[in-house]
């Protein structure tokens, strides 16, 4: 009974969005066919589908390249964000100085730095893209973790003080577990951002092997269907990153999932 009920609620959850997506794609197809829209303006979903499978080897290669860039940047950016937040939570002066700057930088289009980074490294180097991703990922992670480390329940702080606990105890037993939900909130944001940054950074030149470069070169060859097939791959890549961070969240904080299920 329980399993059946759970399956039904899961279907109720994922059913509607699938229907909406199918209807939208159907309308798109019908619109293109009915109005005889040229493929260089808007290719039909069926054309994109054909192109996707015609070039699936190349798409897979490009996805691996961009995915690796996004992953490397995500890992380094997250690590830097966590370390930075630990330092900032420990030293008030540093926090007061760094926080407004970080908040301001977080609102800026860091991707605009890509052409400059491209000039700093050799033309085939993946480093400039990974650097852009790292910086893009850093800020949301840094800001969220810092919030999680510092916005601690006042009762918990008094409790730890009543236990005469050391700073390292307070960090390990209270601040870090308190920051865990904030880490995964930021990771879910950063995972999508990382893929966007990795793909868009390729629009500004450099090595021609990732999804972004393939999209621009397909468009400049008027191969619009192919360009869209690469876009679909980029979307799938972003979704994959997001879902993986969702799974990690479930694994790291089973009590949260349990709680959501209970209420």
């Amino acid at each position: 009974m329980m399993a059946k009920a759970r399956l039904r609620s899961r279907m109720a959850q994922i059913g509607p969005p699938i229907v909406v997506a199918a209807v939208l794609i159907g309308l798109w197809e019908a619109f293109v066919k009915a109005r005889d829209i040229q493929p260089f303006l808007l290719p039909a979903p069926s054309l994109i589908w054909d192109q996707f499978w015609a070039f699936d080897d190349k798409i897979w290669e490009a996805t691996k390249v961009s995915g690796t860039n996004a992953l490397v940047g995500l890992v380094f950016g997250t690590a830097a964000g966590v370390l930075g937040a630990l330092v900032a939570s420990r030293f008030r002066l540093f926090r007061d100085m760094a926080l407004p700057v970080a908040a301001a930088l977080n609102t800026m289009p860091i991707i605009a730095l890509a052409p400059m980074f491209n000039n700093m490294f050799s033309s085939t180097s993946p480093v400039p893209r990974r650097l852009v991703v790292t910086i893009v990922v850093f800020f949301p992670v840094f800001l969220n973790i810092l919030k999680g480390l510092t916005q601690v329940d006042a009762t918990h702080v008094e409790l730890m003080r009543s236990y005469a606990s050391s700073d390292s105890h307070v960090l390990r037993k209270l601040r870090l577990p308190n920051a865990l939900p904030f880490l995964f909130t930021s990771l879910k944001i950063a995972a999508s951002l990382a893929v966007i940054a990795a793909v868009v950074a390729e629009y500004f030149g450099g090595a021609q092997n990732g999804l972004g470069s393939r999209i621009t070169s397909a468009v400049s060859n008027s191969a619009n269907g192919r360009a869209w097939a690469y876009v679909v791959a980029a979307c799938a890549l972003g979704l994959t990153f997001y879902l993986i961070s969702l799974v990690l969240e479930r694994l790291a904080m089973p009590w949260q999932a349990k709680r959501r299920g209970a209420t």
Partner: protein, 280 residues
């Protein structure tokens, strides 16, 4: 019983002034004298701003007094905190939501570097004490407010401190749960021989629980009266006894203070004299 035990709490002329010499100076506590003997249950009661929570936090050494002497278990309040002579419970249960009930109770034991087996054993012992044995592996949000407070009390007592400091621990509970928790607290304290300092704004709660009720008044925070409550062993009948109501009336009149009428405590009379004509 040959060597007399030091008083559990001994405060002499303790004052706490927040933001001294600034525009927002607050005289939270002025000239407080208080002695709590081992095994006593003493309540601090008064309107908000009377400094009852401040006094509790001074005893807990969560804040330092501005002046005066404060000894806990015959040593400085700071040393008593470092030695973890007391356990503490707050109005919010303050459980860690990422820990199970049992592991919440184990927290202070972890900090004291107890082995896992010892922690397990003590946690289940404490859970039996607060009658939550079957909830060891639940998470806090799966428990009612009263159950969460019982876990908080079990956590506070897990390392067997001689004193329990409680800051309106039942304040957020409904009346029925509250009365049940009061009875539970008395049972636990008589089983463990724990001394309790208990902050509350409920008169019946203070009278029901305490050997003595310390009545405090605000602006500046001070003790106006100490009401002895020699009601003997408490049970459900206590709440309906004539003496119980007499004591409630006595505390209520002490709280009214400035409204005159009843018999004012000497400290209150003194305060009124200092206040001049300002009777608010």
């Amino acid at each position: 019983m040959n060597t007399p035990e030091p008083a559990t709490v001994r405060a002499v002329a303790v004052s706490k002034i927040f933001n001294p010499d600034k525009a927002n100076q607050v005289d939270a506590l002025i000239d407080v004298d208080l002695t709590v003997e081992p095994g006593e249950l003493v309540s601090l009661i008064g309107p908000s701003g009377c400094g009852k929570s401040t006094l509790l936090r001074l005893i807990a050494n969560l804040i330092e007094p501005t002046s005066g002497e404060l000894a806990v278990n015959g040593k400085s309040a700071r040393q008593a905190r470092l030695d973890q002579d007391y356990g503490m419970a707050f109005q919010q249960a303050g459980l860690f939501e990422w820990r199970t009930v049992a592991r919440n109770i184990e927290l202070p034991l972890e900090l004291r570097k107890w082995s896992k087996a010892e922690r397990r054993a003590r946690a289940s012992e404490m859970l039996e004490l607060v009658k939550l044995g079957e909830f060891a592996n639940h998470h806090p949000w799966e428990l009612s407010g009263g159950m969460q407070q019982r876990v908080a009390i079990a956590r506070a007592l897990s390392f067997r401190p001689r004193m329990l400091l409680m800051d309106e621990p039942f304040g957020a509970l409904d009346e029925m749960t509250r009365e049940h928790m009061q009875a539970e607290l008395l049972r636990i304290c008589s089983e463990t021989g724990t001394t309790v300092v208990f902050v509350t704004h409920s008169i019946p709660e203070a009278v029901y629980l305490s050997n003595r009720v310390v009545v405090m008044s605000p602006r500046p925070g001070r003790i106006v009266r100490v009401v002895d409550v020699p009601l003997g062993r408490r049970d459900d009948d206590t709440r309906e006894s004539a003496e119980f109501f007499k004591k409630i009336t006595e505390v209520r009149e002490a709280l009214r203070g400035t409204e005159g009428g009843g018999d004012l405590g000497p400290a209150e009379v003194e305060r009124l004299r200092h206040a001049g004509g300002d009777l608010r």
